[in-house]
Amino acid sequence: MNSKIVTLIICCCCTFTALAQSNYAVKGLISDTTTNVKMDQATISVLDARDSILQKFTYADKGAFNISNLKPGKFLIMVNYPDYADFIESFTLDASKPVYNFGNIKMILQSKLLNEVIIKAKVVAIKIKGDTTEFNAAAYATQKNAKVEDLLKQLQGMKINQSGVIIFQGEPVTKILVDGEEFFSDDPGLVSKNVRADMVSKVQVYDQKSDQAKLTGIEDGVKVKTINIVLREDKKKGVFGKLDGGYGTDDYYTGQMMFNKFSQKEKIAAYGNIGNTGKVGLSGNDNSKYNMGYGDGDYGGNGLPFARDGGAHYDSKWNKDKETINANYKIGALTTEGSSSTMTQNNLPDNFNTRTSNSSFQRYNSSQSLNTVFTSKLDSTSDLRTQISGNINTGRSDNSTKSTTLRGNGILLNNNDLSTSNSSNYKYIYASGNYTKRLKKKGRSVSLNASTTTTQSDANNYMKSELAYYSNQGDLDSVNRIDQYKPTDYKSNSISAGFSFTETFLKHISVTASYNFSQNDVSSSQLSFNRLSDHYDILDSAFSSNFKLKTVTNAYGLSMGYTTTKTYVNIGTSVSDASMKQEDQFAYDNLNRKFTNWNPSASFRYQLSKAAAVTLNYYGNSRQPNSSQLQPLRQNTDPLNIILGNPTLKPSFSNRLSFNYRLYQPTLDRGINVYLGGTKEMNTIVNNRVVDSNGVSTSQWSNLKSKQPTSWYANVEFYGHATKLDFILSLNFQVDGSSNFNYVNNQLNESKSFNYSPYINIWKNTATYSYNFNIGPKYYRNSSSLRQINNNRHGFFTEAGFKTKLPYNFFISSDMNYQYTAKNKVFNQDFSRVLLKSSIGKNFLKEENLKITISGNDLLNQNTGYSRYGSIDSFTETRNTTIRRYFMFSVTWDFSKFGKSLQPQQ
């Protein structure tokens, strides 16, 4: 009996334990989310929830699985299937629930998931958010000691043109911020050449409002394309910089020094440049004076430059970051010498004449500028921002030009010998303050602002001109001689003050109302004295003026914004009335004008998905004629080109519309950028020319009512990885067109132009080599209604470059740029030019931060300074003195030392 009971108990226990063992199980059914298809052979693994140790695994049978013989405890289930996102979920097995049934487990295709959610493991190169495009620097490889410039070149949609201007999706970038703060900001080239690429975590590109719009709260339609460089946490503290020196054939030399010391609360930077190669020492300001942009390019390519400049930056935060100061100082000088010869063909109704001129010049310009911004959080609800900037500029220039104009039939029309000598001084001071107070109700704020600007300039100009006119037969008719001293003096004072008030309704809607008052007082004298024996003391009243101009403007703005996470809409309008009062100090003649300007604006942004956004902007504005267009003054600085003012001008009104669509697919690293823009102008102020029988052209401004000039621009870019070679392929199509009008000898002239330039661009960058290749045809249509022949032409360009490391730390690089423009009805010769530069060198030291380079510029010696240009009613060919072939030996030392990482990098 006993033994029976014992056996029974043992049996029971055994069964019980056996049951308990096999009882602990997990089961479920695996299927695809979208199609509901059962997923055969999916891998199911059971892991221990504490340490991820694999317990058991199985493969699903037509989607179903059942894993038994588990122990009680906390587990993770992991389901994998190729191309599908992992499914991971925790579950617990215990006596109360020995079998866990997951039911239907839905798997999501990775490609689908990745398009919707950004997965951390893969480096996503681009994020698109509202109007901001953000590039993740980790997704781009750069060589050791590379600078931000080398990183920017790789970003999709970003180009750096030959003059060094950074262009993003067709628009030039005018500001670079570092961690959201100004850092030599008006000089993007300087930042991009100074800051190291390995310090960058993210590059954000967006449009900022102009400083003026930010100050007053009144939209002025100006968009400042801005790049913000976000630094890596571990590179925010350290010292870095560069020393560079080179000497070459024909006495070419460069010297460059950059030093930076960054810490969490403080940034100190200083730089100095000297050189005559046109590649260093030309800061943004200098270059923009030559209207050619900034940076690596040149000073306009015209003449031989000798540049030296330097600058310093300091910014700091203190008092728990409540107070900040940001100061930039720059000093520089540029001497340029050169000569140029120009051939211009002016088109007249039924005729044309050709002017050839040879000129030589010598220019000197020096400038100093200081910009300081101080911000303070007065308390938790109010901020104060004050800014003081100043600029001092002095310049000298000597020019001499000899020109000859021939009639269309080849007979001499006139002959001009002109020499000028100028010296000028310019001073500018600007100060502004802005106080913002956030009121108790969320979203309600008041802002007060005030600013003052003083500009002063004076110049002493000497001018000698001998202009000889010839008759129809080519005989000397008359000679007009000018020998004058022309001092000018200009002073402008303006003050402005205003306030704006913002109120938020229903969480998403904000309304801003603003008012701004400004007054501007100008006194300007431009005198001309004829010479009597040794002194210039006979006033030539025909070409002298002295007037005072006072402008009072009241501007009222109202805008309404609606912002949610996906949508941003802003509609605004501003009206300003300006009254101008001009006193002519010579004629005691007063001219009073009143203008009412109206500026409506609207912008709309919509985030289509995590990776796509559309933007639509409209901006309409009245353009008030400027005072030089209104002046009834005569100038004789160029006796062959006389410009007259027109006091009866009315404002013109222009409508601008732009559309932008951006899409990026992170899984495939490819995307689209589309940008379309158009402008239509009403009541345009046009420049009308009358050319008399002596070849003197007189132009005057007037409003054009009958016709409306238009211009439009389209840029479409596709980029992605097209082949297994893993380079980025970008297909671009650019079209722009315009039609413009003016009167030439009282006949309406319409000039139309269309430019098509599709191109293909490929590039690849790795830590050891990089290459790029760019090719495309160009087709221009350019016609003017006054002439039968058009200036249609086609051309072709290609750019190729590579850079690679060689064994024993040598490296080699080369860049080629080829341009071709075919001859046409205007220019009877093809134009083709190959610019080739190469360098070879060796890196030293462990970090490869000491570099010796031998480089050759323009190896084929084809940079002849030739350029040609066709405009509304004239065609011009120019040849300038320029920097040609030279070889240079240079030594570069990059130094950097960064502190310990404060936060681990993700």
Partner: protein, 256 residues
Amino acid sequence: MKYVSQFFICLLILGANTLFAQNKHFITSGVIEFERTANMFALVKKKVTKHTMENKPFYEQYLRTEPQFRTLKSKLTFDNNTTLFTPIAPEKGVHWWYDTPMANQLNHVFSDLDNRTSIIQKEFYERTYLVKDSLRNIKWKMTDETREIAGYKCRRANALILDSIYIVAFYTDEIHVSGGPESFNGLPGMILGVAVPHENVTWFATKVTETSIVKKTLVPPKTGKEINNKLLKEEILKTINNHGDYAIVELKGLLL
């Protein structure tokens, strides 16, 4: 041009995701080629111990005259749940001055994954053993790290074997065989990569060929003295117990 047009077509149908779940094909039989890379500088250095400083000139000579990495090839044939790992004899041996078990491929491994048994033909010190025992049982710690090996997406798992040797393995769930090179096994898919960081050796698959396997070719090795793991370890210990500090290095190399 083909790529370009594909590129455009893909871009034009953006947003609309037209991909559907497809029944993926899973491999259950075939041949995998492996490459075993050993860092010889590190391995030879291990021959220089406190008590064998006389080996130092050999090590220094090695640094000057020999390449850092020794690469050996092998082949893993698998059909359903049976696998056979066969080393391919190298063209060039290692000079006896520098030789160490970890520099060579000692094992032909036949594994029966269903019955969890293995037959290993192990050759060392001119002796051949036939080790018949159960499969090596490895506790794998799974991670979420992935990498691609031989065109297959692999997941990383870590483990400790032989009490103290840290190994990193990468397996793919596209090959539904729970095996791997040498005696590595037990993951929910084929192991295509193994790194033994502290022993300075790695195995990585270079090529995966799916093919049906003739049963005849997938047979266990036959030559050698039959033995089990426990007795083998005793035999080895007997041979190397007078090798001083270096013995433990040899033991790891012989047992791995």
